[in-house]
C-alpha cells in the first residue's frame, strides 16, 4: 500500500517536471551579450545601455516576441563589465563568446575593448553591434560588425557646417580632445572639416582622461583668443569644467562639444558657463519633440541610473529592434544569415523614425544605422534641439 502511494507521488512529480520542461522548451531565448563599462567613470553609460537593452527586450516579449519559422523567440540581455579598457574587454569577449556561447552582441562600448571583442567574434561568426567611434573597426573587413549610433564620420560634417553657417563671423577655432583613440580620430576629422568651412584652426591640443584640474588648459585655450572653442570628444562633465574656467578668465565665444551626449554632466560642472554650448550627439526629452514613449522610458532611466538617457545608450535599444527585424526577414537566427539581411531591413528607432542602414560610400558597406543628427544647444539652462539634420 505504501509502495503504491509512493509510486503515485513519484509519477505526479515526474509529470509536473515534464510539464515544466515543456513550458521551458516553448520559450526560446536568444541571449544578447553586452560589453560595457559598469564600473569607473563611464559606468553610467554602461548602466544606461543595460537598462535600454532590457527595456527593448521586455517590450518585444510583451509584444509577442520574435517570430522566426513558426517559433517564437525572446531576447535576454547579458552584460559584462569591460571597464572601458582593452584588457578587460578581452576577458569579457572570452566570457561572452566562449563561456556563455553568445551569438549576438547587442551592443559594445569603447573602441579599445570593442577591438578585442571584434577580433574574437569575427573568428566565431558572431554578430556585433557597437557604439564605438573608431573608423578602424568599420568597413568591408568586418562584415559582422554594425554601428548603432552616429559617429564622428556622420556627425561632424553636418554639425560643423551648421555652426559655421549660424556664426559666419567666427573664423578661428581652438580644439581640445582626450588623448586616446577616440579623441585622435575626432580631432583629425574635425580639423579638416573646420578648414573646409573656412574656419582657421588656431591650435589643437590633447589632455588625459581623468584630469580634474582644468585651469591650466583653460588658460592656454583662452590665450589663443579663438572665436570658437571645440572640445570634440571631451566628456560633458569635463567640458563643463573647462567652460567654467574659461568663463572665469573672461573668454566669450562659440562653444562646441561635437560629440557631447548630454547636458546633465555639462551643467553639473559648468553651471551657467554651459549656456550656449552646441552638441552633436545630445538628445533632449523636453518639449513637444519628444514622444510620450521616450519621456516615459527616460523617467524610468532617471530613477534607475540618475541621469537622462543619451545617444550612446539609445543605440542599445535600437540594436534589439534591428535584430528582431532582421531575424524575422531572414527567417533564421543564424548570426551569419542575420548579418547578411540586416542592411536591407528597416525598423522603428527609439528616435521615433523608421530607420535602416547606410555607409557604403564612406565605409565600403552598409553597416551604419541611418539615425538623425540632432543638433542641441543649452538655452536658458536646458538642452534644446535646434536642428535635426538628415545624413
Amino acid at each position: 500500500m505504501i509502495i503504491k502511494k509512493q509510486l503515485k507521488s513519484g509519477a505526479a512529480v515526474l509529470a509536473l517536471a515534464g510539464l515544466i520542461a515543456g513550458a521551458a522548451q516553448a520559450e526560446e531565448v536568444i541571449r544578447l551579450g553586452l560589453s560595457v563599462p559598469l564600473s569607473g567613470a563611464a559606468a553610467v553609460w554602461g548602466k544606461g545601455a543595460e537598462f535600454l537593452c532590457n527595456t527593448a527586450a521586455r517590450e518585444i516579449r510583451e509584444g509577442g516576441g520574435v517570430s522566426v519559422g513558426g517559433e517564437t523567440y525572446n531576447f535576454e540581455c547579458l552584460s559584462y563589465d569591460n571597464k572601458y579598457n582593452a584588457a578587460e574587454g578581452t576577458k569579457v569577449a572570452q566570457a561572452l563568446l566562449n563561456r556563455e556561447g553568445v551569438k549576438f552582441i547587442g551592443g559594445s562600448l569603447g573602441t579599445a575593448p570593442v577591438q578585442a571583442l571584434q577580433a574574437l567574434a569575427e573568428r566565431q561568426d558572431v554578430l556585433v553591434f557597437t557604439v564605438a567611434w573608431g573608423a578602424s573597426i568599420k568597413g568591408v573587413k568586418h562584415p559582422m560588425t554594425f554601428t548603432q549610433m552616429n559617429t564622428p564620420g556622420e556627425i561632424l560634417p553636418l554639425l560643423i557646417a551648421y555652426i559655421a553657417k549660424e556664426h559666419p563671423e567666427a573664423k578661428s577655432v581652438a580644439m581640445l580632445n582626450p588623448n586616446d583613440a577616440t579623441g585622435k580620430e575626432t580631432e583629425t576629422l574635425a580639423g579638416d572639416i573646420w578648414a573646409k568651412n573656412g574656419v582657421d584652426v588656431a591650435a589643437s591640443d590633447f589632455y588625459e582622461r581623468g584630469t580634474t584640474e582644468f585651469q591650466p588648459i583653460a588658460a592656454r585655450l583662452a590665450s589663443l583668443k579663438p572665436a570658437i572653442i571645440d572640445l570634440g570628444a571631451t566628456p560633458p562633465a569635463d567640458a563643463g569644467a573647462i567652460f567654467k574656467e574659461l568663463d572665469v578668465l573672461g573668454w566669450k565665444g562659440v562653444k562646441v562639444v561635437e560629440v557631447g551626449t548630454g547636458a546633465d554632466g555639462l551643467k553639473a560642472t559648468g553651471g551657467d558657463a554651459a549656456e550656449g554650448v552646441y552638441m552633436g550627439a545630445g538628445v533632449t526629452f523636453e518639449g513637444n519633440a519628444a514622444t510620450d514613449h521616450q519621456k516615459a522610458i527616460n523617467e524610468q532611466a532617471k530613477a534607475q541610473i540618475g541621469e537622462s538617457l543619451n545617444a550612446v545608450q539609445i543605440g542599445f535599444y535600437d540594436s534589439v529592434y534591428a535584430l528582431k527585424a532582421a531575424m524575422e526577414k531572414a527567417g533564421s537566427v543564424d548570426p551569419k544569415i542575420v548579418a547578411e539581411v540586416l542592411p536591407q531591413v528597416t525598423f522603428k528607432s527609439f528616435y521615433g523614425e523608421e530607420v535602416g542602414f547606410y555607409g557604403k560610400e564612406l565605409y565600403g558597406r552598409d553597416q551604419q544605422m541611418r539615425l538623425p543628427i540632432i543638433v542641441t544647444k543649452v538655452i536658458g539652462g536646458t538642452l534644446a534641439e535646434v536642428a535635426r539634420l538628415k545624413p
Binding site: 564600473s39 588623448n179 590633447f206 588625459e208 584640474e213 585651469q215 591650466p216 553639473a268 553651471g271 541610473i305
Partner: protein, 291 residues
C-alpha cells in the same frame, strides 16, 4: 607679466589642494610606514556626501552657505567613520608592513570603487558655488571660492606644521615616525598614536573633499587623479616629510600649470612623471625624505 601672474596664481590654487592631499599621505607613511591607496576614497566620500546633501538642504530652506557648512560637517563625519573602519578592520593589522598594506589597500580600492558606485551612482554631481564672484590679483582672475580653498589649505598646513612641532600629540607622532620602538620604550602608546595619525590624515582628505566639491567634478572616481598627484608630490618631497609634501605639491602644480600652458596638457602630465624619475635618480628618498 600678466600671464605669468595668472599662471602662478593657478599653480598656487591647484597646489593648495595637492598640499592637503599629500600631507595626509605623508603623515600616514611617517607614522605607520604603510602606503595608503584608499586615501582618495576618503576624499571622494566627503565630496559625494556634500554633493548629495547640499541640494536637499538648500531645498529645505537653508541658505547656500549654511547648507554647505552643514553638508560639510556630515561629509567629514562620514569620511572619518570610513577612515576609522578602514583602520580598525584593515590597516591596524598591517602596520609597518609595506607589502601587506599595499595588497590590502589595492583590495580596498576595488571594494570601495564598487560600493561608492552602487551607493552614489556613476553620474556626475554638481555643487553650486557657495562664494560666487571673482577678484583680480595683479591682473590674474581668481574666484572667491578658490581663494577660500587656498586660505583653508594654508591654515591646515600651518596648523599641522605647528602642531607637529609644539603639541604633545605632534611630538609623539614625530617620535613614532623616527623610531617607534624607542618611542614605545619611553611610554608613548604607539597603537593610539598610529590611530590618531591615521584619523588626522583622513580628516585632511575629508576637508579637501568638501572644499573641492564646489569647484570640481564630483563623481565616485574623483579621488584617483588627486591620489596620483598627491603621491607624486610626496615622492618628490620625501615620504614622511611635511615640508617635503608642501614643496612637492607646489612643484607638481607648477609643472602641470606652466607645462599645460606652454606645451600641451598631455606633455605636462608626461613631464611630471619624467621629473619624478629624475628626482629619484638624484634623491632616492625624495628631497627631504628619510623613509
Amino acid at each position: 607679466m600678466q600671464t605669468f601672474i595668472q599662471l602662478s596664481a593657478t599653480a598656487l590654487q591647484i597646489g593648495a589642494v595637492y598640499v592637503l592631499f599629500s600631507l595626509g599621505l605623508t603623515l600616514i607613511f611617517g607614522v605607520m610606514r604603510i602606503v595608503n591607496f584608499v586615501h582618495g576614497h576618503i576624499f571622494s566620500v566627503a565630496a559625494l556626501v556634500v554633493a548629495y546633501l547640499l541640494p536637499a538642504l538648500a531645498a529645505g530652506g537653508l541658505s547656500a552657505p549654511a547648507a554647505y557648512v552643514l553638508a560639510s560637517f556630515v561629509g567629514i563625519a562620514v569620511a572619518l567613520s570610513l577612515g576609522a573602519l578602514l583602520y580598525i578592520f584593515g590597516f591596524r593589522h598591517f602596520q609597518r608592513d609595506l607589502v601587506g598594506s599595499f595588497i590590502l589597500s589595492i583590495g580596498l580600492v576595488l571594494l570601495l570603487d564598487g560600493v561608492l558606485l552602487h551607493v552614489f551612482g556613476g553620474a556626475v554631481r554638481g555643487v553650486p558655488e557657495i562664494f560666487p564672484g571673482r577678484v583680480s590679483i595683479g591682473g590674474a582672475q581668481v574666484t572667491i571660492q578658490r581663494l577660500f580653498l587656498c586660505a583653508v589649505a594654508v591654515l591646515m598646513a600651518v596648523s599641522l606644521y605647528l602642531a607637529l612641532g609644539h603639541s604633545r600629540l605632534g611630538k609623539a607622532l614625530r617620535a613614532v615616525s623616527y623610531d617607534h620602538e624607542a618611542a614605545m620604550m619611553v611610554g608613548i602608546p604607539y597603537s593610539r598614536i598610529a590611530f590618531l595619525g591615521f584619523m588626522i590624515a583622513s580628516l585632511l582628505a575629508a576637508i579637501a573633499g568638501v572644499l573641492l566639491a564646489p569647484v570640481t567634478i564630483v563623481s565616485p572616481v574623483i579621488g584617483t587623479d588627486y591620489l596620483i598627484k598627491g603621491f607624486i608630490a610626496v615622492i618628490i618631497g620625501g615620504l614622511g616629510s611635511v615640508p617635503g609634501a608642501i614643496l612637492g605639491s607646489i612643484f607638481v602644480a607648477s609643472i602641470e600649470t606652466f607645462g599645460s600652458y606652454y606645451l600641451d596638457s598631455s606633455y605636462a602630465t608626461l613631464a611630471i612623471f619624467g621629473l619624478v624619475i629624475i628626482v629619484l635618480l638624484f634623491w632616492p628618498k625624495g628631497v627631504f625624505g628619510r623613509g
